[in-house]
């Protein structure tokens, strides 16, 4: 059912009794043209763009839990394209463009809010690195501004300007960055894909990938074998396990990243802000809660929860940056499974196995990629060739050395 002023009004008057399920709950078919493993943001958006851009609608999204149960449902919702590497910028910028038109495209309000993303810097060296990055962005036609401390003060007056251990020298600002309501992205893509005929199969864990003569034939699932002409993996934190079902070993470690939300308060922070003297980022949700996070806990984990050292570190950074929020209270914290690649950048590529395609390595930043990841993965699956903006995200780059290592920390995921 299309959402319009008319449908909303008329339903309201009928006590909202006429709404229909936003997606069907179909039984699996015996065979699909494409089976996408993983009903997170990337699996769902891939399904949508396969249908919309490539006319491939005989598609199933196979999800072990409920859709959105993975990282799409547990991230801090920051979107931006302020990357520094040529291999990344066009991709994330394309994603940001897709976000900008998303609501109209999928007829679902995911509350894309371009409130700006500000990365603080605290030293001359950080300023120079920010300038280098911002100038690279500008070359790609991406918006970026280098603010001095006065510029930052104007934008976010309640930061710690007077008594900081690491004084704020300025910031790199991307006005078009912002936040998006995370769950709505999953639901909106699911609904839009479903409307185009995609089957969304929840509670249907993939337990095996049938491979013969280096060709993938289908997936074993909790609901039986499903044959597939092509299989796309978009399993984020569980990529290694699922790839291992086809005998692949990935340059990936799964780590836990925690996130936090405070009690709701009236508008206090209008921008997305990241701390440069640590690992901390914060924004305020439309409900009023401060949503924030920090570094990964730093060890392999599939537990979707973390421990106190990182929790305390995050809180320390919160008050270091905003000395007035110490009395606000955290109401919940949780964790997600991060597919940490060895250079900190994603992989969207074919695999050595025919008909098996790979989308993983999103580290702590794949939410913002959701639209472009789906767009490019759909392109790769449909055309058997990488999309231009994702051409650098190859699996063989680790062997050749053509890495996309934004942080310069090398093959150690907990330092990215």
């Amino acid at each position: 059912m299309r959402y319009s002023v008319f449908s909303v009004l008329s339903q309201a008057l009928k006590g909202n009794t006429g709404w229909k399920p936003v997606w069907r709950e179909p039984e699996p078919k015996a065979e699909y043209d494409v089976v996408l493993v993983g009903g997170g943001g990337h699996g769902l958006s891939t399904a949508y763009y396969l249908a919309k851009n490539h006319g491939i609608t005989n598609v199933a999204v196979v999800e072990r839990g409920y859709i959105g149960s993975g990282n799409i449902g547990r991230n801090t919702t920051i979107i931006r394209s302020n990357y520094g590497e040529h291999g990344n910028i066009p991709f994330y910028e394309w994603s940001l463009k897709l976000w900008e038109g998303l609501e109209q495209d999928i007829n679902y309000n995911a509350m894309v809010s371009q409130r700006g993303v500000l990365n603080l810097y605290h030293s001359d060296a950080q300023r120079d690195a920010a300038a280098q990055r911002g100038n690279t962005m500008r070359m790609h036609g991406v918006d970026a501004e280098l603010l001095d401390v006065e510029g930052v003060r104007k934008l976010v007056p309640n930061l710690n300007f007077d008594n900081a251990r690491f004084p704020i020298h300025g910031g790199l600002f991307q006005p078009r960055g912002g936040t998006v309501r995370h769950d709505a992205v999953a639901w909106g893509y699911a609904r839009a894909a479903d409307m185009r005929g995609v089957d969304i199969l929840q509670h249907c864990e993939v337990t095996g990938i049938r491979v013969e003569n280096a060709r993938a034939l289908g997936v074993e699932t909790a609901k039986g074998f499903i044959k597939a002409k092509k299989i796309g993996l978009a399993c984020a934190g569980r990529s290694s396990q699922v790839a291992a079902m086809a005998g692949l070993r990935l340059p990936i470690e799964s780590h836990v990243l925690q996130a936090f939300v405070s009690e709701g308060v009236k508008p206090l922070i209008d921008t997305v802000i990241t701390f440069g003297a640590g690992h901390f980022y914060i924004s305020q949700s439309d409900k009023g809660g401060l949503v924030f996070g920090g570094n990964i806990d730093g060890y392999n984990s599939y537990a979707q929860r973390g421990n106190l050292p990182v929790i305390e570190e995050v809180m320390e950074e919160a008050v270091a940056m905003f000395p007035s929020i110490g009395r606000l209270r955290v109401l919940r914290h949780w964790g997600g499974l991060m597919d940490m690649s060895m250079d900190g950048s994603p992989i969207i590529d074919k695999t050595p196995i025919d008909n098996l395609y790979l989308n993983c390595g999103w580290c702590i930043g794949g939410f913002k990629a959701t639209p472009a990841s789906g767009w490019c993965f759909a392109h790769l699956i449909a055309q058997d060739a990488p999309h231009d903006v994702a051409a650098a995200m190859r699996l063989d780059r680790f062997a050749t050395g053509r890495l996309i290592n934004e942080s310069g920390t090398g093959a150690q995921p907990n330092l990215h």
Binding site: S240, Q241, P251, Y299, L308, M342
Partner: protein, 94 residues
């Protein structure tokens, strides 16, 4: 999380730095790129028991091999790396 340092006793995870998969062996120095590639990049990344390297950074500065379940964080054992010896030596089995 509490990591049982064989030297110092059980300590909060905050005192340690992590370095990942301990089953990886650095190839002989004369080995080719392929062997080193295999050492540096691919990971088994198991959901289950995992032998992994930790460094007691805020303590005795020993490198440890810890056997820990990545699903539950349960720790089965830990030993100092230089005693852990050849690959496959078990630091407490589940």
């Amino acid at each position: 999380m509490r990591i049982p340092c064989p030297h110092c006793g059980e300590r909060d995870v905050g005192e340690f730095a992590y370095y990942g998969d301990a089953t990886k062996r650095r190839p002989d120095g004369a080995s080719d790129i392929e062997a080193f590639f295999d050492y540096v990049y691919p990971r088994d990344n198991p959901a289950g028991p995992h032998r992994e390297l930790w460094y007691h950074l805020g303590g005795c500065r020993a490198w440890l091999v810890v056997n820990r379940d990545t699903r539950t964080h349960e720790i089965f054992g830990a030993e100092v790396a230089y005693k852990a010896g050849a690959p496959g030596a078990e630091a407490g089995s589940p």
